[in-house]
């Protein structure tokens, strides 16, 4: 994920998480934030921003924003290899 997409993704993720965008840094904890609306909204956000579908159980295993970004990068890599 390039820097511009990452910046835009994190700004929209802050909206989903209902927190100030400045707080959503790589070390921002996610472990206690995965309720059903957050999971569905984050899946939709990833789908919209980078056109990949991340399985919800993998999403809920992410305990920080850094892990989430890694997961998205991995999903994008798998998607590009599958093309």
């Amino acid at each position: 994920m390039d820097a511009e997409i990452s910046r835009r993704f994190l700004a929209k993720l802050a909206d989903v998480l209902e927190v100030d965008a400045a707080r959503v840094r790589p070390d921002f904890p996610l472990a206690d934030r995965w309720d059903s609306v957050t999971v569905l909204a984050t899946m939709a956000l990833i789908d919209e921003q980078v056109a990949v579908t991340v399985p919800p159980d993998e999403l809920t295993r992410c305990t920080s924003v850094a892990e989430l970004l890694t997961l998205v990068d991995q999903a994008m890599g798998l998607a590009s290899r599958g093309r």
């Binding site: 209902e18 059903s36 609306v37 569905l40």
Partner: protein, 183 residues
């Protein structure tokens, strides 16, 4: 959510077969109503629900809480994987302005689950404040139990509003539970 007050009402005439509850922040549905949230809507709401709610965040939040409450009453919750036991679109919430309660139609996984539980009907009651939407789904049409649940739901939402106002250092905000979506 807890409340210190109790209710002096008659015991339910028939015990519920099952029960589920959900509570959501309406603000999140304002965000999700933006164009980027379309994928969420398409994943969760039927086309009839999308047309009925027409991006009204209160209705979208109430429809979602109703779906989640029904899914919990069915013992599964809303499935989020690619082939869930019960998905958002398996539970259709039908409501017309003026109706006291929404009606529920079950399809596919939800219908199969209800049949497995020998459940002929699921009743949903819902309430909302300016900030919160809450729904209870119950496998009974007992008038006494439903009246009790509506009272409990209103009381719990009022308590939540008071707690929220205290946390923010405000006086009790004018945010009472609202019935009938007429606010």
């Amino acid at each position: 959510m807890t409340t210190e007050r109790s209710f002096a009402v008659a015991a339910p005439d028939r015990p519920p077969r099952c029960l589920g509850i959900d509570l959501e922040s309406i603000a999140r549905f304002k965000l999700l109503a933006k164009p980027g949230g379309r994928a969420f809507f398409d994943r969760v709401y039927t086309s009839a629900e999308q047309a009925s709610a027409s991006d009204n965040p209160v209705l979208l939040a109430l429809y979602f809480t109703a779906k989640e409450a029904v899914a919990k009453a069915l013992g599964t919750g809303l499935g989020l994987n690619s082939a869930p036991a019960v998905s958002g679109k398996d539970i259709e919430i039908r409501w017309t302005p003026g109706e006291e309660r929404p009606r529920v139609a079950l399809w596919r996984g939800a219908a199969a689950r209800a049949e497995y539980m020998h459940l002929s009907d699921v009743v949903v009651i819902w309430e909302h404040t300016a900030r919160l939407a809450c729904a209870i789904a119950v496998g009974t049409d007992s008038p006494v139990l439903l009246a009790w649940l509506v009272a409990a739901l209103r009381e719990a939402l009022a308590a939540a509003v008071v707690g929220e106002s205290r946390e923010r250092g405000q006086r009790y905000a004018a945010d009472p539970p609202v019935s009938g979506l007429d606010a």
